[in-house]
Amino acid sequence: MAALWPDNPRLIGEGVPRLDGLAKASGRAKYPSDERPDGLLFAAVLHSPHAHAKIVKIDTSKAEAIPGVKGVHLIANEGATLRYHGEEIAAVAAESEEIARDGCRAIAIEFEVLPHAVTEAQALADGAPRLTPRGNTQAGRAQEDGDPDAALKEAAASIEGEYSVPVITHVCLETHGQVVRWDGDAKMTVWSSTQNVDGVESEMAGAFNVPATDVTVLTPVMGGGFGSKFGADTWGVAAGELAKKTGRPVWLFLDRVQEHLTAGNRPSASAKLTLAADKDGKLSALIAETAGTGGISRGAAFPLPYVYEVPNSRRQHTDIRVNGGNARAMRAPGHPQGCLIMESALDDLAEKMGIDPLQMRLASLAEQDTVPSGSGEPLNRSEIYREQIKLGTEAIGWNQRKSRAENAKAEGPIKRGFGMALHQWGGGGRDDKQVTCIINPDGSVELRSATQDIGTGCRTVLAQIAAEVLGLKTTDINSNIGNSQFPPGQASGGSTTTPSMAPPAYNAALEARDLLFKRIAGALDAEPGDLSIGEGVILVKGEREVPWKDACRKLGTMPINVTGSFSEGLTAQGVGGCQFVDLTVDTETGVVKLNKIVAVQDTGLILNMMTWKSQVYGGVIMGLNYGLFEELVMDPSTGLSLNPDMELYKLAGASDIPEIDIIPFDNEQMRKRGVIGVGEPPTIATAAAIGNAVANALGTRVPHFPMTPMNVLNALAKA
């Protein structure tokens, strides 16, 4: 049987500062957007100024005539229909970025402006323009479980509610883009800001009809993706075309406006629903009509019911198309939406029944919710939730929570409220990825894989694993990732990167160690079986210590180079978490102020406590942005986005950050489960918990997210 994770690790689980942290903090790390190969041209993209328009005529001659403009590439041609504000039309490469922008401005286009529908209401209205031949809506298959109508009749209580959350965008700080250099006619180097170096390699190879072996995609570090950076995209291909045409490397990154409008979004979600429970507060029926828009594409599906067991349910979901950019996966696709709708409704039902919403949650967990364990027994996730809830309620001080009615009666304009929510996620690994481990005769050790570090600390945890096996320090390992020529690496999506890459890294290091023993045993007058690893040394028969470097020197001139793959027992999937919020709302201004957030999270074996915590903090903060601030605002009359920027598209700054208490749900049983990804789960429940705390504070539900002053005051006016 393949090896399992060590029982008493020296490094695994420790908080080790990330290997590239100082390079990033001193401005020395080179991001794809920082690459400046010799002879570089800068490119800019021209995008649609209309929500819906046809290109009647396009003339690039004026642009081409500008001194310094070296190439123009059309992404959309004459006759093409542009379907949203921000859709790409052309790219211009020039000696400077300023000139490239001049070039974009000089492209003359005659548009036939078409009627648009940029909001769900516009797309559904009578006489709305048809955005696809099949119309503007696409209904999913109705999903039905049990007999919801009968269950509703028998229920002790029910509520009818409407909840919604708008479209938001990823706002990657490094915008989408790449630098492309042709090395001769048929080879290409691409410095790409991507979360999928292998995917970009095959896309670029396909687009230019060159063998994938001749395309090298490099992503040593990258400035955020959150699910939006899996592909080469039209602009990647445009950069390749421009580089080919001009014979010079081309830098092309979107500007901030384009990043908001064309580089992906998290679809909106809305629900009209009836939720019912029996007299003990156990959910019994859910009947829901849901909808959402991911812009011109589909992709607005989300899970419902969510987390809780609802034995009788009927749900009909409709995707609505509007003149907006395409949806892309965004950190836990669908889950934040499903979570905030489910948790809001549950909370409102508990309120109506006069039950503590915590009790309703506990009563409504499935009796058995089995999740796997890598090397232990399968677990009941409902039990995990119960223990987590205990930790969370203590940390937030849930016993201070008052009912909505009591809070509403409290004196003065400032009201305090508490809320909570549960979430779940998969986070398992794939079994087809590889890592190479090289031990050189000078004692240096290198790991190689085509995976990338999207900011999670993946580079560091792989090194930590190898260092654990070889008795070295994490900093002794050159963790070389982000190169598509290396063994196949996992794309950073679905919280699968670390669980996909940790097993092959572990196995590669173990095999390298065993081969090292075999190759140097003779020179140490021993049998391979006599050798073992100590800290920085090779032990002969458990006694004689040979310093690591001296031992490696015995390799002569031939390094060790082995490639490890996946094996069973090292990973699992299926995590749970819960979050709690304590906040105050000013009922005169509608401003919500967070006091404290508690996040309890399970993700199996935690490899690096420091980077793990950073991910959970980051998830919570992204979640609080979703709960309080974010919305891409579309103007119904012009069809344009009103806030494709970073001041009116609001994100939390330092002063918006409350006390955040992260509680790792970490015990022997969890560690036995093996590695599970944590990127996504901790961002799911935050907005839902905030919404519930606001409702608790105000004594009334604010049904539309985010909890902005406008939405809060509107709800108060209606109450």
Binding site: V221, G223, T456, G653
Partner: protein, 219 residues
């Protein structure tokens, strides 16, 4: 790009606007007049093409200027409209400061200009001729330094906002030597920066640690 591509001209009397002044809301109208004069001098010195229409000077073409970056004199040819950020990143290869919002709202492009933290994305390079520009590449990195504190506290994830936070922090500490800031001071000092990965908690601790180390070092 084109419809929204309005670069804000530098409207303040000194090169670059101090982030704090900016937040307080400076009197733009009065400042604009002063700028016209100092920009004019800089332009003439830099020998850009200058023509006059109805008494208004119009600058065009390219002009060579001298910038002092991280203690080094650098010659560079720019356009009058080139921002300090784009000049550093695209023409001088100084890529530590990042371009994120390009309009003074995120702080990723922060540099230290004559001792003040400024947004280099909304500072014209031409106005910085003969002024002292420092970017984070020039900061100390060993124990006690700001970058070191960021690293040790894992105050970064993707790291793209990090140069701005590190620089804002460094500028704050230099302006307030020997002080031990409170958490609220730190939050206020860093309110001109945005992190999408959500590294604020680590950033606060890094700033507190760096301040403590600096106080010790200075005492």
């Amino acid at each position: 790009m084109p419809p929204e591509d309005h670069k804000a001209p530098a409207e303040l009397p000194r090169p670059g606007h101090s982030r704090r002044d900016f937040l307080r809301g400076s009197s733009l109208a009065a400042a604009g007049a002063v700028m016209a004069t100092s920009a004019e001098t800089a332009m003439h010195e830099a020998r850009a093409d200058v023509s006059e229409t109805d008494g208004v000077a119009i600058y065009s073409g390219t002009c060579p200027i001298e910038l002092k970056v991280n203690g080094e004199a650098m010659s560079v040819t720019i356009e009058p409209r080139s921002t300090l950020l784009d000049t550093l990143r695209n023409r001088l290869g100084v890529t530590g400061p990042k371009r994120v919002c390009d309009r003074a709202s995120c702080g990723a492009c922060t540099v230290i200009l004559d001792g003040d933290a400024v947004y280099s994305c909304t500072t014209l390079a031409i106005s910085c001729a003969d002024h002292e520009v420092r970017t984070l590449e020039s900061f100390e990195t060993d124990e006690g330094s700001v970058p070191h504190a960021f690293h040790q506290n894992d105050a970064l994830m993707c790291g793209y906002c990090t140069p701005g936070f590190v620089t804002a922090c460094q500028a704050w500490l230099e302006k307030n030597p020997g002080q031990e800031p409170t958490l609220d001071d730190i939050k206020q000092g860093l309110d001109g920066n945005i992190c999408r990965c959500g590294t604020y908690i680590g950033v606060f601790q890094a700033a507190l640690d760096a301040a403590k180390a600096m106080k010790k070092g200075g005492a």
